[in-house]
Symmetry: C2
Subunit: 467 residues, 2 copies
């Protein structure tokens, strides 16, 4: 809290705004994050929070061409620093510094920074939230990979969103390219062409491959593989019959992994949400095993693309320190998820500034009525002490209508009258939201001050929450 002589320049030039590609978040949206945390903590996640800027060296040469999007801090004497670009590099830096940590499930929700062209309506900003959950360390094969997929399912169930998880395996993909006849030095660039199949038609993708120097027969063979998708068990069955494909060692390893994974996904009841998609390639080079991308189902008009993505990266941490630490993880695109939820919710009413209360404390009286403010405060204090969210009018002598309006949406009222208060009693009453007649008939129940908390709790427990 500090401000001395507010500049007039910002007002005169009309610059009372947030920087380009950034926005304020307020109210309801922020509370949505709790849904994610509940799931991540249920799975033993430990929260990590790293500085918003890192030494420039730590970020340098990590993002290829995209490095130009990194925000640098001004050289004000001292170390050269840059704002973080993602949460994975800081996690890898932290793991490399903490050689005492063998295995960890960590989560981090934080903003990342990219000096890109913002597209705010689609949830694409320069400052945006990511929420990463990663399992680091050596485990028996595919067990952590299955748990990550289970977590994805739980997170979107908590948001009441239907999703499809597109899944592939880098070893299947790379081996398949080899079998199709793609030269080793072209695999990554052909892979990135294939990755566009979710947005572009096959003809376009094929044209790109030919342009990249692939013979047409090879391109067609790639096409016959990568345009296949289906449930894991169905497609695994199909691929197993392809002896030429399975003769490739890399493909065979990938298929063995996926068979094991599928049995775990069935045990965890999430196999049905997963679609094995041989065109999924993911842009980043460092993935070494399963890769996946989450697509919202029936998202109507709001086109936001993938809303979470991740995979296994066994070699990344080893590049920062001496010890290799295999990892598998998922990154949730929090802003895109909120943009989707906002679109769903637009039909519903209510301000984003709304907050929830359990109890509204009112006072009424006749001519001599002094507002009973200190008594309302005493009642609030009892309820606060019990952890109950209680509010009252911040007026010495509040009007009845003011108090009724302010109690809109609050499930329980505590009502004070001069005589009852003098006798150590107050009235507690359920507020029949949406049914004014019933509310007016219900006179509530007179209780002694000492029983107040207990009686309020009973009413709260028997009230069905609105949201």
């Amino acid at each position: 809290m500090a401000a001395k002589n507010p500049s007039t320049s910002s007002r005169q030039s009309g610059q009372l705004k947030t920087p380009k590609g950034t926005r304020d978040w307020v109210g309801r949206d922020l509370l949505l994050r709790d849904h994610i945390f509940t799931v991540l903590e249920r799975h033993g996640g430990v929260p990590l929070d790293t500085p918003v800027f890192e030494l420039r060296d730590i970020l340098a040469e990590k993002y290829g061409e995209d490095s130009r999007l990194i925000y640098n801090l001004e050289d004000q004497g001292g170390e050269a620093c840059s704002l973080r670009y993602d949460l994975t590099v800081p996690f890898a830096r932290w793991l490399a510094m903490r050689s005492d940590v063998q295995n960890i499930k960590r989560y981090q929700i934080a903003k990342v920074y990219r000096r890109d062209q913002p597209a705010i309506a689609r949830g694409r900003l320069r400052e945006f939230y990511q929420c990463d959950f990663d399992i680091a360390g050596t485990y028996d094969p595919m067990i952590p990979d299955a748990e990550i997929l289970r977590i994805i399912s739980e997170v979107f169930t908590a948001f009441d969103m239907n999703i499809t998880v597109k899944l592939n395996h880098r070893k299947v993909l790379d081996g398949m390219f080899t079998v199709a006849g793609v030269p080793a030095d072209k695999i990554r660039s052909i892979s990135s062409a294939v990755d566009k199949l979710d947005k572009a038609p096959w003809a376009e993708v094929k044209a790109e491959m030919l342009e990249k120097g692939l013979p047409e027969t090879v391109a067609d063979r790639v096409g016959s593989y990568v345009r296949r998708s289906g449930t894991l068990s169905a497609l695994l069955g199909e691929l197993s019959l392809d002896t030429e494909l399975c003769g490739n060692e890399s493909v065979a390893e990938g298929i063995a992994d996926l068979k094991l994974l599928n049995s775990y996904l069935e045990a965890m009841s999430v196999a049905e949400e997963v679609s094995f998609d041989l065109s999924l390639a993911r842009g980043l080079d460092y993935y070494t095993g399963v890769i996946y991308e989450v697509i919202p189902q029936n998202n109507g008009k709001t086109q936001v693309g993938s809303i979470a993505a991740g995979g296994r990266y066994d070699n990344l941490v080893g590049m920062y320190g001496k010890r290799p630490v295999p990892c598998v993880g998922i990154s949730f695109g929090v802003d895109r998820i909120f943009t989707l939820l906002d679109a769903q919710r637009a039909k519903k009413s209510g301000s984003e500034l709304a907050h929830e209360a359990d109890v509204y404390i009112m006072a009424f009286g006749g001519k001599e009525f002094d507002g009973l403010l200190a008594d309302r405060m005493r009642v609030a204090t009892r309820l606060w002490d019990a952890g109950i969210r209680a509010e009252f009018s911040p007026k010495v002598k509040p009007r009845s209508t003011q108090q009724f309006n302010a109690s809109d949406g609050v499930p329980v009222a505590v009502i004070l009258g001069q005589e009852e208060v003098a006798a150590g009693q107050v009235r507690v009453k359920r507020l029949h939201v949406g049914d004014k007649n019933a509310a007016e008939k219900d006179k509530g129940q007179l209780v002694s001050m000492d029983d107040l908390v207990e009686e309020v709790r009973k009413l709260l427990d028997s009230t069905v929450p609105l949201s």
Copy 2:
């Protein structure tokens, strides 16, 4: 998640570290923030989150001399931006942009940035957390001020910390200086000398006043006033008898405010934590009413100074826009609070990476034992679906000792055996933490898979939490 060619320079020069004055936060400490949120939401707080950087104009000329501590972003083409210095200016900017908001209780927890000399052991960093709660808008006098003081008390009760709130009123302070004979143009500079009385002896403060050109008689008169402190009711009684002091209009207004405040604090059961301290001045110019500072009691060796501070600032928001919005608020020094709690907790054992689980799922068997991994997964899935934090060993065939060690501190175990599982049954058992003999005698209870969740809930409900 992105990293391509990790630079070797950072490893070679040993620069695998966070920038100066920053640190990573992990695990337990971060969860402490929930204590604060619970209280702030109980009082109707709406969360606000603003960008980590603001247009430089918005921050310019707000912090006087301290402006040199502001971190600027590099000029990479585009707008000139700086990292936020506190949470008050962004809140005022937001309020000025949102003319539809009349009244709001908002909270924000976020990191702020100051290029100061860090003193990490005392919780003083260049990147540090603040948590602000402010009540903005027009209310009947002193009602929101009293609620802020109540919130302070609830927050530190949640942390199990004993505190004293030092409180003063700018009008009492300024009027008192006038009565003592301090010229109007010297009031702020004398005020800042007086503010040092908590760290320096009177003789030193007096010397500073004389140096600032105050006649000795005036300095002594100031001294006779400001060295007084006590409970609000006692000191208000004393001051009311001082007719010369109360003859000053500003003092009289301040005292009327404080009398009203004290009656509200008594109704809210927090009057005892408040000490009226006439030497408290607070550095910032913009306060217009009550000011306060929170000091930990018996904090032993860890000297962290004040751990929260705030006051009423009725004119600040009006400087940014056309409309004035009176505000009162508190800023919690989250890092300092965590530093104190860490010192208290140092005696206790346990890693900061510890996380909590409700249930550990184990499997045991003889020679033919295959580890029952898929069954452990199915059990975990049932528990996760019910919102229960369940874990199991990520080994196909885990050893008994591994599983016992991993279940340390977890209150309930679900135990799988080949035959029981074949019959659709598992064993649930309370883990008698700290009492191995009792644990070995207790064989638990055999339940059918369908009753599992219910039986686990019963055991969890009857288990006293350790933390």
